[in-house]
């Protein structure tokens, strides 16, 4: 079979470029310019898929984005894409498509027995049937339903293609490049506006491509060519094909999805498959046309039943015919264009069934001349199975019946303007009786609607309306150039008589994608789900990939009829973005895998890599977690060695990730007094102090060490996690709360590489690093000192701080970031005689737990300064953020959970964070819960696991044996509540 249904001539396909493709393993061919749908039509393929619920045979219903039925799995392997609409799939050489939701084959689908059981698959079936017992849901019902119902199968491998996002800005965005959109873009472009003309299709022209009409007295194709040539000559107009506008967002931002490389088997190197555009437009002209609506009758889902406009598109645009004996069923004069198209294509029309009571007399004459019968009546059902329509059953308006032989039934129930985007800001579409359709009502600011999308269906209205709105939009955006003349076409009048549903034999489908029938809508009405939003949820009408573009209006019209309300009274459901399917890949864009988020590297990162460090993600940062040495089998071995080396000798750690903020200005001290609970204005120049800040509700926000470098210059440090939020908070205080204070703030996090050097041999190493003139003795540089120092032999000014997180004799040194790698290498050189080791975040964490220093796990958004044992730091004679609220009764209650040390009684027990603290031997439960473990580690110094935790009245319970219950690991063990400072409690080591 070689393109059996391709017409001898016609269409805008390139017959000199044949393309091979396969469908369900059959090798077929089409032409460049085909969609997969038109190529299937040209090959006489009618059966394309099985339906969602009943596995009914389905064909192609439409020729556009609204297609509910003809969904396939496109491509294979990792690039397999399920639920691809064949009507918007551009044909390419080697295309491989497979039908879905059938087994073992499309023709012989075992689950088609669902059709026999269909009486039970009615609306609300899942809700009603699979209720009890509840535990069967996950184990049995859901997997079963998932196997039986559903659409395509997704690829199981990672998507090998890449996706990106981009921004564009313009004065006028025109959505849709049919006659109205092109007219609008041309007018706005001539006026001088920056215009983006976006078209979902790969070809511009819209209905002009399908319905050969005349513009300015010539074939519309001539106008199309010259208009596009003029647009191409305008630098200020950008045409984006394969690009659909899918959402209107706030402030004139629009979402566009560009299918950059869906029309080739594999995207060219370095090119994305899809690109998601954020377009910021001062004005937007919607010219997205209208969608032809079906009529609901018996077996209206049979392959061969097709929208009349789609039949014309396959004939006119693609030079292929969906049938050889076509019957037309219409309730409007536009449907009659199908007869013209068939006559042009040389395809036989077997009959026209027109449901309008007052059938125009010229219609009957037309039939006589054309050699086909014209019936005044309605189609009740069609005969035929998976191979398509064979007969059409008609009820004549007089009461008689008729039967027509046909292999294709072209249906036109009238047109629905594509209002979707106009309703994205809760605008309610308005009902227009004359066209029996909803038109836009209450568009988002800056949006206007032209042509068929506004219910003005004739070509002349599209051309003039588009031109007018295009020039208006340009003017509104500040461009007063001349928009030129609008193109002209003959006036036409659209006339229709509403017809939604005809009773007849066989299932009558409203939503073909979700297998929702007219009886389901009636059932929903009987059961009280009359609101359209309820109707949608109860029957699933209008859900899934097509979002009910061909079914919503019919569904609510039937609901209106059976519930005795008018259609506008019944109303529409909410239209939300996306208007067309958008790939998840495009929404993620560049941000996947390693690029999921931006990565921050510390200044000694590359040095650490040479040392074989294992890195951990800390927020956006990559930090060295530990430095394994040859022979070490577990991470714990490495960490223990690092801790022991620091405690007994010396080690260093890159602590650059801590936030650093320059706080400057004459009121810097006063400012810090107001944000910290303790006093900084009286801190001497050359000194550092630990500071704690609260939120205004009295809960701890962050902590860190702040040094005074000069009278009007403080250098604040924050925790790694809170660097950004603290900066934002300080700017709030400066700009909003205390605008008169002379304070300047800026992040200095990136300027300085900061290293902590810790251990009893720190001075020896540091002495070799610093200029010999620097006195770092206990007298020359006492604990909590802070000043600038010089490096040995290098004219680099650094900052040295005598602060300790590990509890050992320690200094932190800041060098300009460019010397981060050099500093690490030099510390290794200078420290070699003393056995220095680099240590990572794990050892850092172990040592701070041994010392009972609170960190992120304890500053957890629930603790007060008092809870952390820092209540004495709260100054009494000054105001600061959080002071008043920290005095609330509950915040100072003696019953609060406070920070304590927790030590398993059995030295072999492992302690983990997250365990709950209960009285010894109590039954675990909410009523016995008295606290929780916040941090835990193995302490090589105490040779056992240790932890910190929050325990009710904990400070009064030092020495008490309680139980830690760890339900995650199914363990409960006895622990001793102790002083959180496990190691060197009097702090002598850090002051040495």
């Amino acid at each position: 079979m070689s393109q059996s249904h391709r017409l001898a001539q016609g269409g805008v396909v390139d017959r000199s470029q044949p393309l091979n493709f396969s469908f369900d393993g059959r090798h077929l061919s089409g032409f460049a310019g085909d969609t997969l749908a038109s190529a299937l039509v040209a090959n006489g393929v009618k059966l394309v898929g099985r339906s969602f619920k009943y596995h009914r045979p389905r064909g192609i219903l439409t020729a556009g984005s609204e297609e509910p039925n003809a969904l396939v799995e496109l491509r294979t392997g990792a690039r397999k894409e399920a639920n691809t609409r064949v009507t918007v799939t551009e044909l390419y050489d080697g295309l491989d498509a497979n039908s879905q939701n059938r087994w073992p084959s499309l023709k012989h689908d075992v689950l088609a027995v669902n059709q026999l059981a269909s009486p039970i698959f009615v609306a609300g079936f899942y809700y009603k049937t699979f209720m009890w017992p509840a535990k069967f849901w996950e184990a049995l019902y859901e997997p079963m339903i998932r196997r039986a119902a559903g659409l395509g199968d997704t690829a199981k491998q990672a998507d090998p293609d890449h996706y990106e996002k981009a921004w564009a800005h313009c004065d006028v965005l025109v959505a849709g490049a049919g006659p109205a959109g092109i007219s609008a873009a041309l007018a706005a472009g001539r006026a001088g506006a920056r215009v983006i003309l976006a078209e979902e299709d790969f070809a511009v022209g819209g209905r002009l491509l399908s319905d050969g009409e005349e513009i300015n007295g010539k074939a519309s194709s001539e106008w199309l060519e010259s208009a596009m040539a003029e647009i191409a000559s305008l630098d200020n107009v950008r045409v984006m094909t394969r690009t659909a506008v899918f959402g209107a967002f706030d402030g004139g931002t629009y979402g566009l999805i560009e299918r950059v490389n869906d029309h080739v088997p594999v995207p060219p190197a370095h090119q994305p498959r899809h690109r998601l555009w954020h377009v910021v437009a001062k004005r937007c002209v919607i010219a997205m046309g209208a969608i032809e609506r079906p009529v609901v009758f018996g077996n209206n889902d049979r392959p061969g039943v097709m929208m009349a406009s789609a039949v014309r598109t396959y004939m006119g645009r693609f030079g292929a015919t969906p049938g050889r004996r076509i019957a037309v069923f219409t309730n409007n004069n536009d449907g009659w264009k199908t007869v013209d198209a068939a006559e042009r294509a040389g395809v036989k029309i077997s009959a026209v069934i027109d449901s309008r009571e007052d059938l125009p007399p010229e219609a009957l004459a037309r039939g006589k001349n054309g050699g086909f019968s014209v019936l005044n009546g309605s189609v009740t059902s069609v005969d035929g199975g998976r191979d398509g329509v064979t007969k059409v059953q008609v009820a004549l308006n007089g009461g008689a019946t008729a039967q027509i032989d046909a292999d294709c039934l072209a249906v036109s129930g009238g047109w629905n303007p594509a209002v979707g985007l106009t309703c994205n800001h809760r605008g309610k579409p308005q009902w227009r009786d004359d066209i029996a359709a909803f038109v836009p009502g209450g568009c988002p600011a800056g949006m206007t609607v032209a042509g068929a999308a506004d219910g003005e269906f004739s070509l002349s209205e599209c051309l003039s309306g588009g031109h007018k709105l295009g020039s208006d939009a340009a003017k509104a955006a500040g461009h007063s150039g001349k928009p030129g003349r609008a193109a002209k076409a003959d006036a036409e009048t659209y006339s229709q008589t509403p017809l939604w549903h005809v009773s007849g034999k066989g299932k009558a489908f409203v939503d073909q994608q979700h297998d929702v029938t007219a009886s389901d809508v009636k059932l929903a009405n009987r059961e009280g789900f009359q609101s359209v939003e309820h109707l949608k949820r109860y029957t699933t009408l209008g859900m899934a990939t097509d979002q009910g573009k061909t079914s919503n209006i019919s569904g609510l019209a039937i609901m209106a009829e059976v519930s005795g309300r008018s259609i506008p009274e019944t109303g529409t459901t909410m239209y939300r973005p996306p208007y067309v399917p958008v790939s998840i890949g495009a929404l993620a864009g560049h941000h996947r895998d390693e690029e999921f988020h931006a990565v921050r590297l510390t200044p000694s990162h590359h040095w650490a890599e040479t040392q074989g460090a294992v890195f951990v993600d800390t927020g956006l940062w990559k930090r060295a977690q530990w430095y394994p040495k040859a022979g070490e089998k577990t991470w714990l071995e490495s960490v223990n060695r690092e801790v022991l080396t620091v405690r007994n000798g010396v080690g260093f750690c890159d602590v650059t990730t801590l936030g650093k903020i320059d706080v400057m200005g004459s009121d810097a001290g006063v400012f810090l007094d107001r944000v910290y609970i303790n006093t900084f204005s009286k801190l001497a120049v050359g000194k550092a102090r630990y500071g704690l800040m609260l939120r205004e509700d009295g809960i701890v926000m962050d902590d860190g060490t702040t040094s005074r470098l000069a009278e009007d210059h403080y250098f604040m440090t924050t925790t790694t996690a809170k660097a950004g939020p603290v900066m934002q908070h300080l700017e709030y205080c400066r700009q909003v709360l205390w605008p008169k204070l002379d304070v300047q703030l800026t992040s200095a996090s990136e300027q300085w590489a900061q290293f902590s050097i810790a251990g009893p041999k720190t001075r020896e190493v540091l002495g070799d690093i610093l200029d010999p003139s620097e006195d770092i003795s206990n007298e020359g540089f006492p604990f909590m000192g802070a000043r600038e120092v010089k490096l040995r032999g290098a004219d680099i000014t650094c900052r040295l701080f005598r602060i300790s997180f590990s509890g050992e004799l320690a200094f932190e040194i800041s060098v300009p970031c460019a010397y981060g790698n050099a500093m690490a290498a030099n510390l290794m050189r200078a420290g070699e005689p003393y056995g220095i080791v680099p240590y990572g975040t794990e050892a850092l964490g172990v040592m701070r737990i041994e010392k009972g220093h609170a960190a992120g796990n304890e500053l957890n958004g629930m603790t007060t300064a008092g809870d952390l044992g820092l209540g004495k730091m709260m100054a009494k004679k000054k105001d600061y953020i959080g002071r008043v609220m920290a005095g609330r009764e509950e915040m100072v209650s003696p019953d609060r959970m406070v920070m304590v040390g927790i030590k398993p009684v059995n030295k072999l027990d492992k302690l983990y964070a997250g365990g709950h603290v209960i009285p010894k031997g109590a039954k675990p439960g909410a009523d016995t819960d008295q606290g929780y473990v916040t941090s835990a580690c193995f302490s090589p110094m105490l040779d056992q696991f240790l932890g910190l935790g929050m325990v009710a009245r904990g400070r009064d319970r030092i020495g008490e044996i309680m139980s830690v219950c760890d339900p995650l690991r199914g363990k409960t063990y006895d622990c001793e509540i102790c002083n959180p400072v496990f190691y060197d409690p009097d702090g002598g080591r850090q002051r040495a």
Partner: protein, 111 residues
């Protein structure tokens, strides 16, 4: 959503951080010397004031003034008058202490 920063021009909302209602004013809370007893009527009254400042917010359907931080740009705090129903923005003003400005704002307390 687009916010028209007085310094940077119109920018996408993703550059900004939201901090709720801009109308509450931080009460004056200069500590007494000697400090108040925590249970005294005066201390409780002050806490009541702060309670309102920290927690009480009107749930406005319509235009309200809000704090927005242009952290992805010039780092200024802005007062944005925005409709909670439509996201329409009626005005954008810089906070009184933006940059080096000395614009005084009595109702924002001392400082």
């Amino acid at each position: 959503m687009r916010i028209n920063c007085p310094y940077c021009g119109e920018r996408d909302a993703s550059e900004f951080t939201y901090l709720g209602d801009a109308s509450p004013v931080r009460p004056d809370a200069i500590p007494h010397d000697p400090p108040l007893d925590n249970d005294s009527a005066e201390a409780m009254a002050l806490r009541a004031k702060f309670h309102d400042y920290v927690y009480l917010r009107d749930n406005i359907a319509g235009f309200m003034k809000e704090n927005w931080y242009h952290g992805g740009g010039c780092r200024t705090w802005l007062t944005v008058e925005r409709s909670t129903l439509t996201h329409e923005i009626r005005s954008v003003e810089a906070a009184p202490g933006v940059g080096a400005s000395v614009k005084s704002s009595a109702k924002r307390g001392r400082g």
